[in-house]
Symmetry: C2
Subunit: 195 residues, 2 copies
């Protein structure tokens, strides 16, 4: 029991990992714990539009664990295009440390879920990735492009980083988002084209 | 698709609902979205100690939806002992409104999960309640009794409000917490006895 308590208090630190987008109507930045809750709910609501046969319970659990490595590494904006592999290796070391706090096979079960997201080769993992990629975009689209503006992110970079993954896991969602992004571009919400 | 997007952006408001406990090491108060994530993870980690046969996937989904009504009502500290029924009626109206944004049967599925938590008569719901009640107590126990001190909550009130529910859903967790609470009392972390 003591180990489980240490584990859940260790997870408390994810509430302090801030992302680049702000919750709607709030001044502060979103943190990775509340983001994880929101994408689990989003996957559940979006289930009728998932591509392929997905196990929604597994997808939900994948999404709940997938950012836990950020407790050691911090969040990296998905539009950062360099150092991605080093970053993933550091996250893997982090989840091994954190899930290693648990016995009773629960730690292994969490690690298996985490690897399942990172693998990316199943319908579950594709759907999980689509939902995760889409959520900050939807917030930005309701926030006048807040994090794109603040970070000078170009339209091309957004599309390059999210289109393949959203389209693979949830084509109807990509169709919806693509139309919204084009409108946002015409309204000047993006940075200049660039690397 | 438009309705699902409206739904998930409506859920964003749960990030603005603040609770009475502070995340460890942070000055701000916890919000109900990150709390929902943490208790879903806690239930999953604690599964080997659940009382009775629980469907952990259902418990996780219950915990993810159970605070959504607070978008309209705000959080009420569990140690507030009056107005509980009116409060639950208001939360029910709120979740009907919010889940009513969805079609495809997803709204009904969420409402069924929400009712499942509130019902309280199954092993799933008892375990969900135990986890939900225990989490802020564990944070307080690691925070020098922060929200008990700030709100003048007595030891007796804490025990009265949480012991039956934690013990019913996860007796080993209650045994652990009870010993910690007695130690905390001896250290003077609680308010004076009273209503």
């Amino acid at each position: 029991m003591q180990k489980i308590i240490e584990f859940i208090l260790e997870l408390d630190k994810l509430k302090a990992v801030t992302r680049k987008v702000r919750p709607l109507g709030l001044e502060r930045y979103e943190n990775s714990a509340e983001h994880s809750w929101q994408i689990a709910m989003f996957a559940s609501a979006l289930l009728p539009y998932a591509e392929g046969q997905v196990d929604i319970n597994r997808v939900i659990s994948m999404l709940l664990v997938h950012d836990i490595g950020e407790i050691d590494t911090g969040d990296t904006m998905v539009f950062v295009e360099f150092g991605w592999e080093e970053r993933k290796a550091a996250e893997q070391a982090a989840v091994r440390r954190i899930f290693g706090l648990l016995s009773d096979g629960r730690g292994e079960a969490f690690l298996d879920l985490w690897r399942g997201v990172e693998g990316g080769f199943t319908a579950d993992s594709r759907f999980a990735h689509a939902v995760d990629r889409a959520m900050p975009v939807l917030l930005n689209l309701s926030n006048n492009g807040q994090s794109w503006r603040e970070n000078g992110i170009s339209y091309d970079r957004v599309v390059r980083r999210i289109a393949p993954e959203i389209n693979a896991g949830c084509p109807a969602l990509w169709e919806y988002i693509e139309a919204r992004l084009q409108k946002a571009r015409s309204e000047g919400w993006f940075g200049a084209s660039g690397p």
